[in-house]
């Protein structure tokens, strides 16, 4: 009774609570939100129009530079970001606005849904209950994880209403329900920015319809089928604006949308959520409130809706009314969705994964796409089962309010300030290293006006390459930024990302290569014209190590006047690229080069003297369109296939670890484990992963032998040896042509594992012998598979045309001070090693060509593998000084006491510095030694420049391994190139590669001193030498192409990012047109008759190309490895002139889609208005009568 009296007042409580939540979670002024894949769209007033260019959707996340395309989400950013911004709200106030709107609208949607589905007689209960939909652990997850402030999870808001009207229409098909449903679907389209949400919705609705049929709420009748058909067709029309452009992209690669271009299984594993997390509403409950913050018991509150659901489900004697049936229908879908969410998690993970074999289901591979439905499923079905006696109970209302406190941070404040996925417990947005809330430094703002007002800027290239996690993000530790770069929005020209690459599928990242390659950086500036870049924005706010890697190269480029700096502060330095190294976005190349092989060789090819700016380079696979006579050069970058050596890195590889769990081989658990191992091995289809799996099993067997001392167990020994035999068999089974770098790595890893078994598990003499024998066996096999004809530095390649080819070798392998250079001999071998074609004595080398030296020209037969062997002279010893210095951890001088880190425990050590230490370079360490007693070790120590500027131990190679082999007379069994001499001396030699961000290198020697014994080792001829790492390029000059192609003059204007108009004159012959945006078949050329550069009518622009002739669509190819190229015949020209419109087809479809979608939504709205007004009039008339 009391409740009813105060109903109107009490109903406001949830609204007031939501207001409180907004108020208490106000975001700090001056801050914006960026976390992971979403960055707050700042400067939205100026960049809003970019949102609806479909083209940007193809490039936004890549390395090509562009704004994000969120064309279906336009209303979201219009109402939640643009309008508030125009109303004067600051960026942080907009965050609060988005936050509160999400919660309020979710609340309203759920409340309205309850009234539609369950009647309007319990407004108070419905109002309180709807609070649970707005405030729960899932919505808390949205706002403490990445997506809350983005359109990504928008579907959460309209979902209840959408399903309600869908149901209402199915139960009783009528135009009014359909009209409301269609409008709601139009609104929901905002959530289809990621297409998987659309698939999830369709699957949900499909299953829901089936469930309704099953529970008898709807029946298959002619009317039902006709209504369903009408609903399907009108739905498709409503979503046209999203669907039509999206279908184009689906057409380009349906697999990327519904099954993925990556390893689906490992992604599904990573996206699996355990059941507890699903009940709670987040992907991994330990990473979020409450467990992360120690409020473990608070889970009980979050779990209460599930518990209530279970209890109500059991307590209903009979399913009787419609609300029960509806709840059951929703739950049936919910259970299937739970299986899709848990994926590989128990129970029966592998079986659940079979669901992802069903077509289109893989679209639901990521967590949010399915999870977004779960609060609706649980809460709606729970509401349907609430017993009548509780519906009017004040205590029950209080209980619901209590449940709504499960996401406590909403009530106490601190969303993203204290509670965030970006930082650990006890940290906040001010103290953590990285934060979702960041403040863009004022220093940034100084550069915007300069760049935006400069008409010569085309695109900006951000540098340096500096990823700390994924290359899709940036990391600016100076202001805590991790994720998509929000500052790009302040520039009105596109910025090419510093970490990503347009050649990512070709395994080449130019910005990364700029950091790591030890060649003159000129190649990089020579490459930028093809990306249409005019300016470089160099960031100092990245981690220091990356500045070390790239800074000197920028200085060198500046010294050579290839780039000119024009702005600098503590955060940014701006460079203008020298005008000789820029190209417009459309150009007609006069030179053409073809690269047969990996595009990663481009830095070397662009270092050659044959470079000219006005050229194009085409990969061999795309070169079919080109006229053969137009090709100037063909390159064959070749790969080194030198014999395997055991490098130090391999030995102390980080992937080595003792097996995490072990079982005594005499137990049943062990037998079960072995069966499980066999099954997982049998299931693995990828041969490389199979070997990796087998190696893990091999380690386990070695560990078990040692731990349980099973050397006398015939069975256990056999298990180890047969594991090794099977590994060798698998390695042998890989065909020779597939044995690339990965294979070499696997062989090295196996060797190092076996050595590791010997050194770490060989505690018992018999066991040591077993491991030593295994090592020997493997080494023998490894030496057998090595190509006997491939000695020293060996390369292999095949040409596809008979001709004369130049062999070029980069000149960093040559020491200019040595008269006959450092190369001793180069041998060219063909016919599988039988026939030696030529051996070149390199006393007189060919001409120097850029950074390469031409060794000579050779005739090669097509299709026959050619092998090059290069033998180098010995390079100088890089150890500095005669004396070994003592490493002191404690030093005292006039400035006070200095403490240095202990490197090798308490062992005294001596060291020498290594001269000319260069990052990412191969070195060899070698010495002769005679170990008389004790243990000794050598170590390589590097100075690494990182955030903490601490020294890092690179690798430690322990001599005890070697010593033991010596005294056990198994010296010839060691894999580490030990060649014992008669006088007891042995030689030790290993290679290693320095780190990418190292500045100094040291070689340390230390001994182990025990209580009564000292190490006694004699070492002589100790050397650290640079290992030559020559790059070879085979080049063919096309003698038939003597002249440059005549290039016409191109004038163009940009209408928008998806449309350009070109006026081409002086066409005398067929020519190539290159457009420096990522290749897509959707880019089309249309021929126009009139002069089109002056035309400006906006409406005319939209459908201007309809009915125009397409030009050269069959001669469209990938130019410069990523962009659009057309070979255009001069027949298209009239008096040497050609007017072209270049348009991205999907954008046209977007315009058509807008017309259709708006028309349907508009008609629905008009119908609703008409019905409402008509009903009102009729009612008024009836009242009058």
């Amino acid at each position: 009774m009391g409740l009813k009296r105060y109903q109107k007042l009490l109903i406001l409580i949830p609204v007031l609570l939501l207001a409180w939540v907004t108020l208490v979670n106000t975001f700090p002024e001056g801050y914006i939100y960026t976390s992971g894949d979403f960055a707050q769209p700042v400067n939205i007033k100026n960049i809003f129009h970019h949102i609806y260019y479909t083209w940007n959707n193809r490039i936004g996340a890549g390395g090509e530079g562009g704004f994000f395309s969120w064309y279906p989400t336009l209303p979201y950013y219009l109402f939640l970001y643009l309008l508030p911004s125009m109303a004067g709200l600051t960026d942080s106030q907009i965050l609060s606005f988005v936050f509160s709107m999400f919660l309020f609208l979710s609340y309203v949607s759920f409340f309205w849904m309850l009234r539609i589905l369950f009647g309007k007689d319990k407004p108070l209960l419905q109002s309180f209950f709807s609070l649970l939909y707005a405030l729960n652990l899932t919505t808390l997850y949205f706002f403490t994880y990445t997506w809350g402030f983005s359109h990504q999870v928008f579907l959460y808001i309209p979902l209840p209403l959408l399903i309600a009207y869908f149901y209402k229409y199915l139960r009783s098909p009528n135009l009014k329900s359909l009209a409301v449903y269609l409008i709601l679907l139009g609104v929901s389209m905002v959530g289809f920015g990621n297409s998987a949400f659309f698939f999830a919705l369709v699957i949900f609705m499909g299953l829901f319809t089936l469930a309704l049929l099953l529970t008898g709420l709807v029946k298959v009748t002619k009317k039902f089928i006709a209504s369903l058909l009408a609903l399907g067709i009108t739905s498709l029309l409503v979503i046209c604006v999203w669907l039509m452009p999206t279908l184009v992209f689906v057409n380009e690669g349906i697999t990327s949308l519904v099954s993925g271009v990556f390893d689906l299984k490992s992604w599904l594993d990573s996206q699996s959520a355990d059941l507890l997390s699903i009940y709670m509403g987040m992907q991994r409950y330990p990473d979020f409130f409450p467990v992360k913050y120690g409020f473990k018991i608070w889970y009980v509150v979050g779990f209460l809706p599930i518990a209530m659901l279970l209890i109500f489900l059991t307590s209903q004697r009979k399913i009787k009314d419609e609300s029960h049936k509806l709840s059951i229908s929703i739950l049936l879908v919910g259970v299937i969705f739970m299986l899709l969410l848990k994926k590989s998690q128990p129970p029966f993970g592998d079986l659940s994964m079979l669901l992802f074999k069903i077509p289109f289901i893989p679209a639901l591979r990521s967590y949010e796409k399915v999870a977004i439905f779960m609060p609706f499923v649980f809460l709606t079905s729970l509401y349907g089962f609430i017993p009548e006696r509780l519906k009017n109970s004040a205590i029950f209302l209080i209980f619901i309010l209590f449940i709504s406190t499960a996401p406590l941070p909403f009530y106490i404040g601190g969303i993203q300030k204290v509670y965030s996925i970006n930082f650990a417990k006890k940290e906040d947005y001010l103290t953590a290293d990285f934060s979702g809330l960041v403040k863009v430094p004022d220093a940034y703002k100084d550069v915007y006006d300069i760049v935006n007002s400069d008409p010569t800027v085309t695109k900006l290239q951000a540098l340096p390459h500096s990823p700390l996690n994924t290359i899709a993000w940036v990391n600016y530790p100076k202001w805590k930024l991790i994720g998509v770069n929000p500052t790009e929005n302040y520039f009105n020209r596109p910025t090419i990302a510093q970490n990503s690459s347009m050649y990512v599928l070709e395994d080449f990242n130019p910005t990364q290569s700029l950091n790591t390659l030890n060649i003159p950086p000129i190649w990089y500036v020579r490459m930028l014209p093809y990306f249409n870049v005019s300016d470089i924005i160099y960031h100092f706010d990245v981690e220091d190590g990356f500045i070390v890697q790239s800074g000197s190269k920028m200085e060198e480029l500046e010294r050579q006047n290839l780039i000119h700096s024009y702005f600098e502060n503590d955060f940014i330095k701006m460079y203008k690229i020298d005008s000789a190294h820029t190209l417009p976005v459309f150009y007609a190349p006069e030179r053409t080069k073809v690269i047969n092989g990996k595009i990663a060789a481009l830095p070397y090819i662009f270092s050659l003297d044959d470079y000219s700016v006005n050229q194009q380079f085409v990969l061999g696979k795309s070169a079919g369109v080109l006229n053969e006579t137009d090709i100037d050069y063909i390159y064959y970058p070749v790969e080194e296939i030198s014999p395997m050596d055991l490098s130090i890195e391999g030995f102390w590889s980080t992937d080595w670890k003792s097996p995490a769990a072990d079982y005594n081989p005499y137990t049943i658990q062990y037998r079960l484990r072995v069966i499980k191992e066999e099954l997982s091995l049998a299931k693995e289809k990828n041969p490389i992963r199979k070997i990796q799996l087998k190696l893990i099993h091999l380690n386990k067997r070695a560990y078990e032998l040692s731990k349980y001392n099973l050397i006398d167990s015939h069975e256990s020994v056999a298990a180890y040896t047969s594991s090794l035999d099977e590994t060798i068999e698998m390695l042998s089974g890989i065909p020779t042509e597939a044995r690339g770098r990965m294979y070499k790595g696997l062989v090295t890893t196996t060797q190092s594992y076996l050595l590791r078994h010997y050194s770490e598990y060989g505690t018992d003499p018999k066991l040591r012998e077993l491991f030593a024998n295994s090592l020997k066996k493997f080494q023998e096999w490894a030496s057998e598979i090595s190509d006997k004809n491939c000695s020293d530095f060996c390369y292999r390649f095949t040409v596809n045309k008979p001709d004369k080819y130049d062999i070029l070798i980069d000149n960093k392998s040559f020491d200019k001070n040595v008269p006959n250079h450092t190369i001793d001999k180069l041998t060219v071998v063909t016919n599988n090693g039988n026939e030696v074609v030529r051996t070149v004595e390199l006393n007189s080398l060919g001409q120097v060509n850029g950074n390469f030296i031409q060794i000579g020209s050779f005739e090669f037969e097509p299709g026959t593998p050619v092998r090059l062997n290069i033998k180098f002279h010995e390079t100088p010893n890089l150890l500095i000084g005669e004396e070994w210095l003592e490493y002191k951890t404690f030093e005292e001088d006039t400035s006070g006491i200095k403490l240095r880190p202990q490197l090798f425990g308490a062992q005294p050590s001596k060291y020498k510095r290594i001269d000319s230490w260069i990052s990412n370079t191969r070195y060899a360490v070698s010495f002769d030694y005679k170990l008389n007693s004790g243990k000794a070790a050598i170590a390589l120590v590097e100075d690494i420049v990182g955030k903490s500027k601490e020294k890092k131990i690179l690798d430690i190679e322990q001599i005890p391994t070697v010593r033991k082999i010596l005294f056990d007379a198994v010296i010839d069994r060691d894999v580490s190139v030990i060649s014992p001499n008669n006088d007891g001396w042995s030689t030790y030699k290993k290679t290693f590669t320095s780190s990418e961000d190292t500045v100094n290198g040291y070689l340390f020697i230390y001994g182990f001193s025990g209580k009564n014994n000292f190490s006694d080792i004699e070492i002589k001829n100790i050397k650290v030498q640079k290992v030559p790492d020559p790059k070879i390029i085979i080049r063919k000059f096309n003698a038939s192409n003597q002249a440059k192609i005549h290039t016409p003059k191109i004038e163009f204007i940009s209408i928008n990012p998806t449309k350009y108009k070109l006026n081409i004159t002086d066409i005398q012959s067929p020519f190539y047109l290159v457009f420096s945006e990522s290749f897509s078949k959707e880019w089309q050329l249309y021929r126009h008759e009139e002069n089109i550069l002056s035309k400006t009518s906006i409406l005319g622009e939209l459908f201007e190309t309809v009915g125009l002739d397409k030009v050269a669509s069959d001669k469209h190819y990938i130019a410069n490895g990523f962009s659009n190229g057309w070979l255009i015949s001069d027949e298209y020209a009239k008096d040497g002139k050609l007017e072209l419109i270049v348009e991205f087809n999907a954008q046209r479809l977007f315009y058509i889609g807008i017309v259709i979608s708006t028309a349907i939504i508009g008609l629905s709205a008009l119908y609703l208005i008409w019905v409402t007004v008509f009903n009102k009039l009729r009612k008024n008339n009836a009242d009058k009568n």
Binding site: R171, S172, L214, T215, G216, L217, V218, K219, T221, K223, F224, D274, L275, L276, I278, Y279, P286, V291, K296, I297, Y299, V300, F303, I306, A307, L309, L310, I311, L313, T314, S315, Q316, R317, K318, I319, K320, E322, H324, K325, I328, L331, L332, V335, M338, Q345, P346, P347, F348
Partner: protein, 119 residues
């Protein structure tokens, strides 16, 4: 109609299977293995035994309450396997309830139900 003795036996079975199911969750805390097949088989037995005596639905409520009471315990132990096993049982419980209720709808039809008709 079951005889009184039979009901006693069924109740006994139900209690035993309930006990075993809960025991299994507790056990799995220590052995740290999901024991998926055992869980499922046991749960099916529990469900079938429960259904025979559960015309009033009271037994299921009791079990549901036990679950809820047990939950904080498992959560507080905070070991993933404990939580996982508890969650798995809840999952089975939910699935069986949904199946049971759907079965009722399909096979135990009330007198007349006019589908496709707005209420």
């Amino acid at each position: 109609m079951l005889t009184k003795t039979k009901i006693q036996v069924e109740k006994f079975n139900f209690v035993i299977f309930s006990f075993l199911t809960i025991f299994l969750i507790a056990l799995s805390v220590f052995v740290r293995t999901p024991l998926e097949v055992v869980q499922l088989v046991l749960f099916i037995l529990w469900y079938l035994s429960g259904r025979k005596i559960d015309s009033e639905g009271k037994a299921l409520i009791v079990f549901g309450v036990i679950f809820v009471l047990f939950m904080p315990f498992f959560l507080m132990i905070g070991r993933d396997f404990a939580s996982a096993n508890f969650s798995v049982i809840v999952f089975y419980f939910l699935i069986f309830l949904v199946i049971e209720r759907t079965r009722e709808l399909i096979f135990d039809k009330p007198e007349s139900e006019n589908a496709n008709k707005d209420k």
